[in-house]
Amino acid sequence: MIHIDNVTIRAGDFHLANASLSVPTGSYGVLMGRTGSGKTSLLEAIAGLKPIVSGRILLGGRDVTTCTPAERHIGYVPQDGALFEHMNVREHLAFALKIRKAAPSHITHRVEHLAGMLEIEPLLSRSIHGLSGGEKQRVALGRALSFYPKILLLDEPLSALDEPTRRQMHRLLDHVKEETGVTTLHVTHQMFDVEHLADCIFRLDDGHIVHDSLPV
């Protein structure tokens, strides 16, 4: 469960006041809002990458407000993936487990499983240079899921993709949701991205979460 309780964020001129939302365990939440409305800032605050002025952030019932990003155990996919330039696809999928000093056999098994789920087996040995936008997003998604996070934060992962690729990604995200049961918060400004995926929708406007809709 992702629970944000009266969170206030300030960054320069930007101000997000008393934002609250709750995504039930295993649900797919979508946070909508115009460009510059503070969606990414809120996502970064949940991931522990941006400090909050006040409020609480609870993940899976645990108060993580003062925890480091690593301690929050969150899979995070930023806009355009932010892949590591010096790693190939396999190294991306293995990175989080290597940091955790997992057994090599376990890492190999996990990488192959993720590659199968995300349909990127042929890409495993390839450098990230030359991958298409959709392929990059799959690698970023695989990297975020590699260490079995309970929470997944997606920051406009589909905004730069063409229509057929976006449809493929919809199917893929649906498949991931079913297979992993991960609680997801997906930030976007495009309604058609999420109408098939969302269990609950939040709307962010003028620095406040002004609308909390029921599942579509």
């Binding site: 970064e44 991931a47 990458l49 690593a70 929050r72 932010a82 330039e85």
Partner: protein
């Protein structure tokens, strides 16, 4: 309401107008490119055309190997390394060295004349005459026969042609005749020198090129006090005439420079000091560049401005400031650093590091900080994100910063001159070598060392370009 019909047409364009525009841009900017190419071209042309000649003054105090000549010795092959040999040709006379300061029985060959407080006697060397014998000439080469001065001809023969500059003769009474022969055996010049009483000094300025032989005829006897000539610094081997290109490859100002021990030391010290400076610069530049690029903190703008000081400050001032700084340090530290090798490294580091920091900062600015943020969510600490993500990604920037620092350190001169000095075989690096060679008038060696530096700089530039960081805005 009136209706105005407006027809818009394309603005008139002359064919080729764009071409002229780009041509004009090219001509304005091209002058600078041309200047750079001309600079390099001039150096290369100078080296290729360099027929550097060095003057040799044979005054018989030492031989060609700098061994002291004793009175009474014969010339034999003492000057063979100049390709110069002496002989006498008439009346079984022979050649002997005589110390003119202590001429013994040969008073008329004493120098200076007794009028000037020396041992010489004879009317020709007296004060006020045209051929006055007014200074000590040291050893002279005397024409003798059975241990007494004799008339005859002293013959000088050069294996390879020289430019004959000056001949000085200690006359025994009847003047001298000079006959110089070109390399093809033809008579190049014949000159009658003023006859006069004995003990007179006859010095003749000649300035004639391509001379292989000089005959000095002394009808009343005499001695050769000195001979000065220009030659190309070494004897050519026989094969060189047949293979001039190979000879140029083997013997040119650059190989000549490389053969000098002091230049070898300077190259060694340059390589070592520049490499240490580069390592120190990167050691500083990576953390400082990262800090300035990623973190906002109090005093950041101040540090940023301070880092520009070594870049904009006149290099001499950097050296002077270092020298002043060390005046405040304990004497033991000062003595261990100033005018020693550590001063070379410190002076290079003081300037080169600023360039490395600028490059590293530009590198970190180009690396998307969200990658580190993602690494943090994947389980990394700040330090492990830096090691696992940032360092591998800034590898190219580090190579560029390193090469820039290296090149900058190689070219450093002003601070070195003041803070480390320019002592041969101690604190001499390539830039100071250029200065030192120029100061002793060896333009060929200076240009040769400059070319070594130019080639090093070009190698560094090409490597930096190959590593693909040409877009760094530094």
């Amino acid at each position: 309401m009136s209706h105005i019909d407006v027809t818009l047409s394309d603005p008139p364009r002359r064919a080729g107008a764009n071409k002229f525009f780009f041509l004009a841009l090219g001509m304005i900017g091209g002058t600078y490119v041309l200047l750079i190419l001309m600079l390099l071209g001039a150096d290369v042309a100078y080296l290729i055309s360099d027929r550097s000649s060095e003057e040799v003054v044979v005054d018989f105090s030492v031989d060609a190997n700098r061994t002291r000549i004793q009175s009474g010795e014969s010339p034999s092959s003492r000057f063979a390394s100049y390709g110069l040999s002496f002989s006498s040709v008439e009346d079984d006379s022979s050649l002997t060295f005589l110390d003119s300061s202590h001429p013994g029985a040969f008073k008329e060959f004493g120098t200076p004349h007794e009028d000037f407080g020396g041992a010489g006697t004879g009317a020709g060397g007296r004060r006020g005459v045209q051929t006055e014998n007014d200074r000590p000439l040291g050893n002279v080469l005397l024409l003798t026969k059975e241990d007494v001065p004799a008339r005859g001809t002293i013959k000088l023969h050069w294996k390879q042609p020289v430019e004959l500059d000056r001949v000085t003769i200690l006359n025994a009474g009847q003047g001298a005749t000079l006959r110089a022969f070109s390399s093809d055996g033809s008579l190049a010049i014949a000159r009658e020198l003023v006859p006069g009483p004995s003990s007179g000094v006859l010095s003749e300025q000649l300035g004639i090129k391509d001379i292989s032989q000089l005959d000095i005829h002394l009808p009343g006897g005499g001695a050769l006090a000195d001979v000065a000539f220009f030659w190309n610094g070494r004897l050519r081997a026989d094969w060189e005439a047949a293979h001039p290109f190979l000879a140029t490859l083997a013997y040119n100002p650059i190989t000549n420079a490389l053969a000098k021990p002091e230049i070898q030391h300077s190259i060694y010290l340059s390589l070592v000091s520049c490499t240490i400076t580069t390592i120190l610069s990167l050691w500083t530049a990576v953390p400082l560049g990262y800090l300035l690029s990623r973190h906002r903190f109090f005093g950041r703008d101040f540090i940023d401005a301070v880092l520009d000081i070594p870049i904009v400050l006149p290099p001499l001032v950097v050296g002077l400031s270092l020298l002043i700084l060390f005046q405040f340090f304990p004497a033991t530290l000062r003595e261990a650093v100033v005018y020693k090798v550590p001063a070379v490294i410190l002076a290079q580091y003081a300037v080169a590091c600023a360039f490395a920091v600028r490059t590293m900062r530009a590198t970190f600015d180009q690396i998307d900080s969200r990658r580190e943020m993602v690494a943090l969510t994947l389980g990394c600490s700040r330090a492990s994100a830096f090691i696992n993500i940032v360092l591998p990604e800034c590898r190219r920037g580090m190579l560029t910063a390193g090469t820039l620092a290296w090149a900058r350190a190689l070219g450093e001169f002003g601070p070195l001159l003041i803070f480390a000095g320019a002592t041969r075989n101690k604190t001499e690096v390539l830039s100071t070598t250029v200065f030192l060679e120029l100061s002793v008038g060896d333009l060929g060696a200076a240009v040769a060392v400059s070319m070594i530096m130019v080639v090093s700089a070009i190698i560094v530039l090409v490597l930096a370009r190959l590593w693909g960081t040409r877009t760094l805005s530094i």
